[in-house]
Structure formats: structure tokens, C-alpha cells
Symmetry: C2
Subunit: 553 residues, 2 copies
């Protein structure tokens, strides 16, 4: 009997890099191809992608990639996935119009221009091999977000993407609860639902509450106002512009991604900016402080972002000063707290006033709270549930919510990346594990996290490196010139005496090796390494990398 | 005219490493000698101390060091300070009895046994050159906390240390508000007050609310309970033990610092444990789950802590399982959020239930909230105020609180480390800056953060290292044997072809140098470095450290 397989390759047991393989009759639809940003211990790593080995092996079976919305954690890995699988191997990439526009702009940056991207209007059906695909409109912190409904003979699986039930979204188009209810009446087979805010009770506030709060706040500011927010949150930027307009302030957009996203949003009609409202960065100083709102990237304290540079007094166009008010219309993503706090503190040091979401309702989460997750469960009435998008805590709490609305605990599957759920007429059960995990983008290449380079970098970063170059005679393996001792990043700078002692260790090692007739360079280097590492640890109580180089002349 | 100088060497514009020099008639009293823990970008660094260069130069003028309480951020730098200044150069170190016991235990670990530590009872006066010293009892998250009152001819400066106004502390001894009020009536010259919770409105909850909340929580747990908290929070441990006793559960203390602090607390009568209550770690498995409470270190997700090891299924004595409840009776210190979240998520993955301070009132901060800072200001009625212990945001908010209770803004001094406030009969003003900042403990040694080793380690950690050994003839500077190319931690593992190309670059460089008659080894290495670095960047778009070694034979 053929079963429907849902294999998460990312997004479970973590926040980010969402990616799921939905499979029936050996045909595959991929939902989302997201990335994560590296943590501090991933030294020198630029980005983290889901390990998509499974898809490399099954590239020919892919009917389509479907993207729920344009955030990096759902679309960011697309360039690497398409490059590796073959740009035209994947027949089509679907998403809402804005999602597709953002994906295209991303592929352009990677010089990938062959891929077939198609905007799919909400509610329109598309046949993909054994599946029928439909996007169901949802509300989130970026326009054109959708849930993905994939129907095969066995029934329908709904992957929600990120969502909230905003009853008063800024663009006036709430989530399509009617279609969700219809799916529920028809009998949904499996719900894969966003767990991000499973730990927050109640309902999330509407995005529309932010506008009036910004207007109130702006009205109380006498100096310049800097608002920072996610550049992709186009409705937020719209509300900042509207509030500025009411108070007769001009707006300047600072930061490359802010300008880019506003341009894309404008061309698709998601954002309206009155004529003459925008001021280019270079003209900021032509306007008095109380006539200006600056909208800037950097709400997460990112190292090279516009706001961070302003806080370090290092931005070419904006010099902050006493009397400026900086408004954080965003909350820190877990892990970014320190960077955000550092930025805030530098702003205080400059003399700015800082207003955050803790002070006024100037931010609304894009993810539904517990009652909205329950509403989703009650609307679609799924036979089985697999909580998505969350660390293990949130998956666990989402499971409890499912149980609270009456699902049998055995019908809720708390998954992990790489563990496929298999559903057929007899029921649902775990299949055997597939390869899943992280791959790292390190410069332009991608590689394995277990990779030697990263392990070496961790070691180098902790205790530095000792390099000892021994030049030995080809004839008898004895030292020809005194060893060279070089060190970098080693704790407590070694003094001349230590260097001399190291040279003595090298000479003793070489002499012993010569006696034991060890002449093979690799073996010699091993002997030197062991003797030197032991000596250095004895003396420094640290374990720098020890690298002996033997040169034969 | 002689002025009173208050020079903060740490704790302003940051959280941690509190240290202040109070000076009159060229005589010095140091209040607190704290440390900070390193942030992720301080690679391989163990601890951060205040730069106390100022004290090295003035060591002979020190009358005493006074410690407000036994937390690391107030006493942790003592071993390094005493070792550098000379153990017996500092005539005496004062503090409350528990503070002194903890300081002594710390000095013992560093084999410093000559220092003169003396316990000073609250309210007792001691003459220190031109000063009179008195400790005023305060409440905080460790017993024996005190504010330091230093009186000279000009008046009294009060350094509060960390404090809250707990009206129902666990040991029944509230802060000595009567003495504070008396100081106010006499006319306090300068208040240096804790700003840690200046951003929280209202009053902090009493430590005593935690006990009943723990008891309620324990009563609902059917399996084993693991409570994690700061080991120095002796009253918290007492309340855990009391709650366990009520529910007829035994207690096991896990983690070295937990056992050490409980022992010190017990010997000084701060903690009472009923006979037969404690179970050694090795006997844990002899008790059924519902008869046991484990009290563990690791509330901050510290890498080698007991709880972190349990969460990684790597603790020798405790194997957590489904049905265990882990109680975080602490909140993450800023910067530790990710480590704590990771630990929590691993516990969920094991199947534990996790309860944090967000779920139940099982933690109370040791620092007073805004209304308590105002109460302090109203009690001591200072002529001048200098907010202490806080980043610039909290110092700014503390300043606003001072203004709210009626202080003139020009009498509130928002300081920075290294900026002395000078007070005399004509008023208060900033003096000229003194050296201040961080010094790093790297292994056993201490050093400058600008130090080359750390800069090198940052570089190594980002892009790794290329080492090229060229062996040249002493006669003509030409290559004798082909260059050796070694790399570690370099992104995208170089292949054979790249190595060959590098060798070609080396040969070309050497030939050019020979032609230009560059024979000096240092110059040769410089030429090689520049050519190689340029080539490597061209090819890899990264900047690994490039280290050419030229050996002459």
C-alpha cells in the first residue's frame, strides 16, 4: 500500500531553516527551503542550511518547490538548493506574488536566472503529479503568506507556514478561515502547524494596533525619530510612513534591504507612499529634526546593519545625537539579545531616548498565540497532527494544545528533523530515519559541520597555534639549523626562555627519533607533535594547536 | 582644598566587575573587587577583571579593601588584585562574616594565605586613616550583604552594593532602614546606588514568596524534582530544603560550588538542614523518584555545570528521564539566554517537564525595583548621586528616578569607569580621567584585551591559517627544496592544484626577491606574506592568516 510521507528536513527541534519533503507514489513536493543564521560557536560560518542530501538523491522525482512566504527561514536556502540540484531540474517554484518576487531577487544576486518561478494565486488549484496543490491565504508579518494544501488520494496535508489569525490586517485581507473550515469539513488528513508562539497564552495582538501606538509615540517626540524594524515587514513600514505623514514628517529609508523590500512591495501594490514623502539619505541634514523619521535596518543588532553603525557613530549618512528617539519596532530573536542590548546601551550613551516593545505596543508578533493554534485545530479538524516550526519545548506545548481541543495523544506526532511520518489508510506511524542536519555556508562553498576546518578553527580560537619548523639532514635526520618556533594567539606570550626550551625539546625528539631510526617525515612529525604538545601543556596549562613541520634538506 | 574622590574602575556602563576607589587626603579605601564572565567574542578568555593599574601605582596608599557581599561580581577579582599589589601590602580586607568566609575560600584556591581578612559586624565603626568605615546591613540574594558608609571630614559617601528592601527576608533581618534614615538626617554627601533593576517599576517581590510557590509546585510533581539555582543563594537553597521536608522528600546537592556554599553557609548558621535529610549523589538511585529533590548548579546553562551535563545525558550520577520535573529557580543573566534555552530544550527532548520563573513565582530578584531605589533616595537624602552597577540605560533610568524624588539634575552624575567624581565644600565635579577598562585572565596569566594573542585568535577563528615554509640557500636566497604548504581551519579545503599554485607564487616571490637582492629574512617573509595574502584572497575570497616561514640552510 502506498503511503503519504512527510519528511521534515529542518524546523523541528530548532527555530529556523524550515524545509519539508511531502511524498506520494515516489513523487515529491518540497515545502519551504529556509536557512538559519549561525550561532557564536560556528566560527566564520556565514549561513546554516538544512542538509538536503535526501533531495540530491531524489532530484528527478521533484514535482515542485512551494514557498509559504518570503522570510529567510522559509526561502533563504533556495539559491543553494537550486544550484546543487540543477536549476532546471526542479520543474517549478511556486509561491504568492511577493514571495516569488523576493525569491527571484535572491536568485538574481546568486546569478541564477534559469529557474522557473511562478506566482500562484491563493485558492487556485495546480496538479503536481499525484498531488493537487493549493495556497490558502494566511496573515503573517509579511504580505502574501500562505498555507500549503497538498491533496492526494489518501487525503489532504496542510502545512501552515507561519501564521496568525489577524482579524484586522493592514491590507484588509484576513486569513481564509472559510477555506480552512471547508478543508476541515472535507476531513483533513494531517496538519503540520507553526508552533512558534505555542508558549504564549491568548490571542496575538493585531498588526493594526501598532499604527496608532506609533502615532501616539511620534506625537510625543520633539527631536528626530529613528524606527528600526524587519525590512520585510512591509505593513509595518507602511504604518511608520502613515504615522509620519499624519505628523507632517518626511521619511528616509536607510539600509540596503530596507530600500530593496520597499521597492518590491511598492511595485506589487503592498505599500503606498505619498508623493514627495521620501527623502534620500544624503538630504537628511536639510530637514529639521522634528520633521524627520528615519526607517532603518538593524533591529537585531546585526554587526554591519545601519542602526548598529549609527550606534557606533560610524554611519556615513546619519549622526545620532542627544534628543533623537530610537524606536525598536521588533523584538530580539532568541540569541540576538546581547547584540540588541549592546546597541541600545550605546544609543543611551550617545544621549538618545530608546523605546522598545516593552515600553509601548509598537510591535506585534507575526505568529499566532496558543488560542490561535487551537482555533486552527478546530477549523481544520485534522485526523493527525505534527507540530512544526519550533524547538522541542514548543513542539511539546503545541502537542498539549492539540490534546486540549480533543485530539487523541496517539494522533499527535512530536517529530524531529529526518524522521518521516508515514500515513496510509491503516493509520500513521514513523518511518525509518533519513539523513538530516545542518550544512554550513562558509564563504561561497557549502560543507559539513563536522568538517575539519571548523574543528580546527574552534581549537585555534581557544588557545592559538604553535608552529615549529625543524630542518633536518636527508642523510642522518639530525637538525641542520636551529628549529624555528612561531606562535600566534597563544595565551601568555611565550618568552625567549620558553622558546629555547622548546628548541631543546625538538632537538631531543629528533635525536631520539634518529636513534630509533624513525626517518619517515610523517612519523617524525608525529613524534615531535606528541613531545611538544605534552611540554607546552605542562608549561602553559593550555592546549594550543601544535604543528611541527619537518623540512629535509 | 582637599576633595573626596570617588573613582569607579568597574560596574558603570556594564553589568559586572564592580570596583570603586574612594580617596581622601591621598588615602584610599577600595570598595568591591569584582569580575565579569567573558562574552562569546573574547575567545579562550576565562575571566574579565577591572583594569586596576591605578591601584598598582597607589598600592602604598591603600587603607583597606571592603567587600559588600560574596558574589563574584563584587569579590571575584580579589585573588588577582592581592597577588599583583602584594598580599600583605593591603593592610586589611573587610566584609561581613559570610563574605569574608567566601573570600577566604577563594584565596585558598589560589594558594594566597597571607592576606589579612577581617569580618566586620554591621554597625561597628572602624577608623581607616582619614575615613571612618561602617557596614550597614542590607538584604540581597546572599546573606551578609551590606552597604558601605565611608565618612571623612567632608561628609559621608554611601556605596550601596547590591540591595533590595525585603521586608520579610528568610532570615528575618531586614535592611537597616533606621541607620539609613539616620545617615540621611545627618546629611549624606554622596550616594552611589545599585541601578540593576532601575528599569522595573514597583517593588521587588520578597524572597519569602518563593518558598510557598516551591512547595505548591513540588506538591503537584509526581516524579523526581531537580531544582537549579545560584549556589550562593543560600536562603533559596534553604527554602528548597524546607519545601522538600514538608513533602517528605530527601535532598541531594549536586555540583561542587553548591556543596561548598552550603557547607560555608551551614558553618555560619545561615542554613539549617534536618538530620538525615541529605543524600549523597551516589545514593540517589536508592530512593524512589517521588522521594527525591535534587538541587543542582547550572541555572545559567554553564558549559560544564551539573545541569547542563544532565541535559546532555552526560552526568555521572544523575540520569534524567520522562517524568522528571526540572525547576529553574533563577532567571538567565543577559547573554546567557541561548545557553539556558538550549538546556531547557534538551530537557524537553529527554521528556522532562520544565518550570521556569515565567510559569510560577519561583524566583525573586535580589535587586530592588524602581520604587525601592526611590525609597533609598528618600531615606538617605543625598546631596549628590552617582548611579552605580548598571549599563548606560540603567544609569540613565536611575538618574530619572533621582529627579523624580526631587533631586536637581545637576546633582546627579552619570559616570563611566575611570571618571572620578570630586566633591568638596564648593560642590561636585568630574576630575580628569584615570586608566580603566578590562584585563583578561587567559589561563593563569592576566593581560591586556588589546593583546596580540586575542587579535590573532579572532583572525584564526574566522578564516584559519596558511603556513608556507620556504627553505632557501644561504648563498643565493633561492629555494633549495619545494615549499611546504600547510593549512588549518581554512574555508573550502584547498585542493592539490591550489597548493601547487601557492608553491608557484612562493617561487616567483623568492626569485623576485633574489633579483632585488632582498636577503634579510624578515624582509623576505614580508614580501612572501604580501604576495601570498593577495593570491589567497583572490582565490578564496577569504582572509586566513598567512604565515610565511623562511629557513636558511
Amino acid at each position: 500500500m502506498t503511503s503519504l510521507r512527510v519528511l521534515p528536513l529542518g524546523g523541528l527541534g530548532e527555530i529556523g531553516k524550515n524545509m519539508t519533503v511531502v511524498e506520494y507514489e515516489d513523487r515529491i513536493v518540497v515545502v519551504d527551503v529556509g536557512l538559519r543564521f549561525p550561532t557564536a560557536d560556528m566560527m566564520g560560518i556565514d549561513l546554516v542550511l538544512p542538509d538536503f542530501t535526501y533531495l540530491r538523491e531524489r532530484a528527478q522525482d521533484i514535482e515542485a518547490i512551494v514557498i509559504t512566504h518570503g522570510h529567510e527561514d522559509h526561502v533563504g536556502a533556495l539559491p543553494w538548493v537550486l544550484r546543487e540540484l540543477g536549476e532546471t531540474t526542479v520543474p517549478v517554484v511556486y509561491g504568492g506574488p511577493l514571495t516569488v518576487a523576493m525569491a527571484r531577487s535572491k536568485l538574481d544576486e546568486h546569478k541564477l536566472r534559469e529557474a522557473n518561478l511562478e506566482a500562484l494565486p491563493d485558492g487556485e488549484m495546480v496538479r503536481l503529479g499525484p498531488f493537487e496543490l493549493e495556497l490558502v491565504h494566511m496573515t503573517h508579518s509579511i504580505p502574501d503568506s500562505a498555507a500549503v494544501a497538498l491533496t492526494c488520494e489518501l487525503g489532504t496535508v496542510l502545512v501552515t507556514g507561519d501564521y496568525k489569525f489577524d482579524q484586522t490586517p493592514v491590507d484588509g485581507i484576513p486569513a481564509d478561515v472559510s477555506r480552512l473550515a471547508e478543508l476541515g469539513r472535507e476531513g483533513l488528513l494531517l496538519l503540520c502547524g507553526d508552533s512558534t508562539n505555542a508558549d504564549r497564552p491568548g490571542f496575538s495582538p493585531s498588526e493594526s494596533v501598532v499604527g496608532p501606538a506609533l502615532e501616539d509615540l511620534f506625537a510625543r517626540c520633539e527631536g528626530r525619530i529613528v524606527v528600526t524594524s524587519f525590512a520585510s515587514n512591509i505593513h509595518r513600514v507602511q504604518q511608520v510612513i502613515d504615522a509620519a505623514a499624519v505628523l507632517d514628517r518626511k521619511v528616509s529609508l536607510i539600509g540596503r534591504s530596507m530600500r530593496k523590500n520597499v521597492n518590491i512591495g511598492r511595485s506589487l501594490g503592498h505599500i503606498e507612499i505619498p508623493e514627495g514623502m521620501l527623502v534620500p539619505a544624503r538630504e537628511i541634514d536639510d530637514f529639521p529634526d522634528h520633521k524627520l523619521v528615519i526607517v532603518s535596518t538593524g533591529s537585531q543588532g546585526e554587526p554591519l546593519s545601519a542602526l548598529r553603525r549609527m550606534a557606533h557613530r560610524d554611519h556615513p549618512a546619519v549622526e545620532l545625537h542627544d534628543g533623537d528617539t530610537v524606536v525598536f519596532s521588533a523584538t530580539p530573536i532568541p540569541g540576538n539579545e546581547r547584540a540588541v542590548n549592546d546597541t541600545v546601551d550605546r544609543l543611551y550613551h550617545i544621549g538618545c531616548d530608546v523605546v522598545t516593545a516593552a515600553d509601548a505596543p509598537i510591535h506585534a508578533s507575526g505568529h499566532g498565540y496558543a488560542e490561535e493554534l487551537k482555533l486552527m485545530l478546530n477549523l481544520v479538524r485534522p485526523r493527525y497532527v505534527m507540530p512544526f516550526h519550533g524547538d522541542f519545548k514548543r513542539i511539546h506545548l503545541h502537542t498539549r494544545l492539540a490534546e486540549a481541543v480533543g485530539l487523541d495523544p496517539k494522533d499527535v506526532f512530536q517529530g524531529e528533523n529526518g524522521r518521516p511520518l508515514q500515513v496510509d489508510e491503516r493509520g500513521a506511524r514513523w518511518g525509518s530515519r533519513e539523513q538530516a542536519g545542518m550544512i554550513f555556508v562558509d564563504g561561497v562553498d557549502i560543507g559539513d559541520p563536522a568538517d575539519v576546518a571548523l574543528r580546527d578553527r574552534r581549537m585555534l580560537s581557544a588557545d592559538g597555534i604553535f608552529i615549529v619548523v625543524a630542518t633536518v639532514s636527508e642523510q642522518d635526520g639530525r637538525s641542520v639549523v636551529p628549529p624555528e618556533v612561531i606562535f600566534r594567539g597563544v595565551p601568555s606570550e611565550p618568552d625567549g626562555q620558553l622558546v629555547e626550551e622548546i628548541c631543546a625539546v625538538v632537538d631531543a625528539s629528533l635525536a631520539r627519533a634518529a636513534q630509533e631510526e624513525i626517518r619517515e617525515i610523517d612519523l617524525l612529525q608525529e613524534v615531535l607533535h606528541d613531545d611538544l604538545a605534552e611540554f607546552v601543556y605542562e608549561r602553559l596549562r593550555r592546549r594550543p594547536m601544535v604543528l611541527p613541520v619537518v623540512v629535509e634538506v
